[in-house]
């Protein structure tokens, strides 16, 4: 398999995975847009600062900082896994 074929395959795979495609006017959908910068670069910034301060601040206790992160991730997972289970149940029951 030559390089051109490989790159074509990689291109197609990324298109499939990231679901990007061209608009009629030549612009691309599904690439990082304004929301990517606003949400992950600005709005969630206080969370990054907080997490850093948990690990770097004094008095230090990395175990408690990890516990805090587990709380955050665990509660978020509970919320969305609950929604996922509900979706699966709806799927099984109605479709």
């Amino acid at each position: 398999m030559n390089l051109a074929t490989l790159s074509m395959l990689a291109w197609d795979a990324s298109s499939y995975l990231l679901q990007w495609r061209y608009h009629g006017d030549g612009s691309v959908v599904s690439f990082p847009g304004p929301g990517t910068w606003i949400i992950f670069g600005v709005v969630l910034m206080p969370i990054y600062v907080m997490a850093l301060a948990w690990f770097l601040g004094k008095p230090a206790d990395p175990k408690k900082a990890v516990m805090g992160v587990v709380y955050l991730v665990g509660i978020a997972a509970l919320l969305w896994i609950g929604m996922l289970v509900q979706t699966l149940m709806i799927g099984v029951t109605f479709f």
Binding site: L18, Q19, W20, V29, S30, F31, P32, G33, P34, G35, T36, I38, I39, V42, V43, L44, P46, I47, V49, M50, A53, W54, G57, P59, A60, D61, K63, K64, A65, M67, G68, Y71, L72, I75, A76, L79, W80, M83, L84, Q86, T87, I90, G91
Partner: protein, 452 residues
């Protein structure tokens, strides 16, 4: 003001004692909530046709109505809680310490009601996963709706973490006086607790409070939620940078109102006049007045810019707004509350807790009406009167109206149940009121490490 000294028995009273009134409230709120769930089942079976909403552009009327207005309203109420609590921790506003945890819980309950509204409004609940989560990596780049879901999830998670971390101190020290049937929960809440952690947890909670006080008011209710509307130039009733601050003032007025009502209910139910003092109500009422003033000021900005040499579409939307009794009525109510609050600062005898409650309920009613009106009118008056060929009106259906009562019932139920499990007033608050400034308790199980 009462001269009684607050103690642990006071804050444990909701857990230990159950009155007849408690059962009545539990039954009423459960019935109301269940009634809405029943009606929601009808909506799930019949589709959104059972609401007063229509198809965009072709069916006449509007696609967003009371559900979205009430969603914004609940998120706004949710804000007061955690902001008040964060202010106690960050700005040293210790006067409000006794209502801080109630306020945090109001955030969780309010956000749950708001999240429920999103699910109800989507028509099919599974779309939360199949449409939002399943395509998150695509939609987050460009969809304000997905930003909204992201930030509300973050806000809920941060508030729950805040509550969970601060409960460790209380539950450990009061464990022997808490009911045994919740033992597994208390073990989970205090897992790995050691007395040495208090200082570290306090520092972590401080940073959490800082993150929340920046993110929630400025970037959620003053950011992502108004951006659902303010970024759409073809809707002059919605468009414009002023919506961020305007939404925030509405959130803060309704939030403080929620805290006033909740504090009054608990004070009356558990004889907490010496914990949730008159002074707290005076302070909260003043804050309500201040935020009501900002709310009216920003409304004035919108009216002036929409009436004085504005573009045709903007003038048309503003004229429609100013001629509607719901808008005029909402603004008049908030103005009346503001006048009362100013008057009672000048003449102290005009203040009473009962009047504060009336003011709070009035503001909550006005902000709900204004928010629903804002959502509907924005869609009714788009640029170029896009949908003039398919005219229609919107009036919420019975199911939509009952949803408001149902979510209020859900929030009341939440408080009735949570108050049976953990103290709704922080132990720190009792210690503070007694004159010690925290940490004057040894854990009941005075161990260095309480292993779960």
């Amino acid at each position: 003001m009462s001269t009684k000294t607050p103690n642990e028995d006071d804050i444990l009273r909701p857990i230990r004692h159950t009155s007849k009134k408690y059962y009545v409230m539990l039954a009423v709120s459960a019935v109301v909530f269940t009634a809405f769930l029943g009606l929601w089942m009808i909506q799930l079976a019949e589709g959104m046709a059972v609401t007063g909403l229509s198809d965009w552009g072709s069916g006449g009327g509007v696609t967003w109505g009371l559900y979205i207005g009430a969603f914004i309203w609940w998120v706004g109420i949710a804000h007061g809680g955690i902001i008040l609590s964060a202010a106690v921790r960050l700005l040293g506003m210790e006067r409000y310490m006794p209502v801080a945890r109630l306020a945090e819980m109001l955030t969780l309950a309010g956000l749950s009601a708001a999240g429920f509204y999103i699910i109800v409004h989507m028509g099919r609940p599974d779309r939360m996963v199949t449409s939002v989560l399943g395509h998150y990596h695509i939609t987050v780049h460009n969809s304000p709706l997905v930003w909204d879901v992201t930030v509300i999830t973050a806000y809920f998670v941060m508030t729950a973490t805040y509550l969970a971390l601060t409960l460790r101190y209380d539950v450990t020290r009061l464990r022997d006086q808490l009911p045994n049937h919740f033992e597994p929960l208390y073990k989970l809440l205090t897992i790995g607790y050691s007395k040495k952690e208090d200082e570290v947890i306090e520092r972590m909670v401080w940073w959490l409070a800082l993150a929340i006080i920046i993110m929630a008011p400025l970037l959620l209710h003053g950011g992502v939620i108004p951006w659902l509307f303010a970024l759409l130039p073809s809707y002059p009733g919605w468009f414009g940078a002023i919506q961020g601050p305007q939404f925030l003032t509405i959130a803060l007025t309704s939030a403080i109102s929620g805290v006033i009502i909740l504090s009054y209910a608990f004070r009356k139910a558990y004889d907490w006049g010496h914990i949730i003092t008159d002074d707290i109500f005076r302070g909260l009422t003043l804050w309500l007045g201040f935020f009501a003033m900002l709310f009216l000021w920003l409304q004035l900005q919108q009216i002036v810019s929409g009436t004085f040499h504005s573009t045709t579409d903007h003038a048309y939307a503003t004229e429609a707004k100013l001629s509607h009794p719901i808008y005029i009525g909402s603004i008049a109510i908030v103005a009346a509350v503001l006048i009362y609050i100013f008057a009672q600062t000048v003449r102290k005898s005009l203040f009473s807790k009962r009047r504060s409650i009336v003011a709070a309920v009035a503001v909550l009613a006005a902000t709900l009406a204004e928010k629903v009106f804002f959502v509907v009118e924005g869609l009714m008056y788009p640029t170029f009167s896009l949908y003039e060929a398919t005219p229609g009106a919107y009036w919420p259906s019975v199911i939509e109206f009952v949803s408001v009562l149902g979510t209020i019932g859900m929030v009341v139920l939440f408080f009735l149940l949570v108050a049976k499990v953990v103290p709704v007033v922080e132990l720190h608050a009792v210690e503070h009121l007694r004159g010690g400034h925290g940490h004057d308790h040894e854990p009941e199980k005075a161990t260095e490490e309480v292993e779960a």
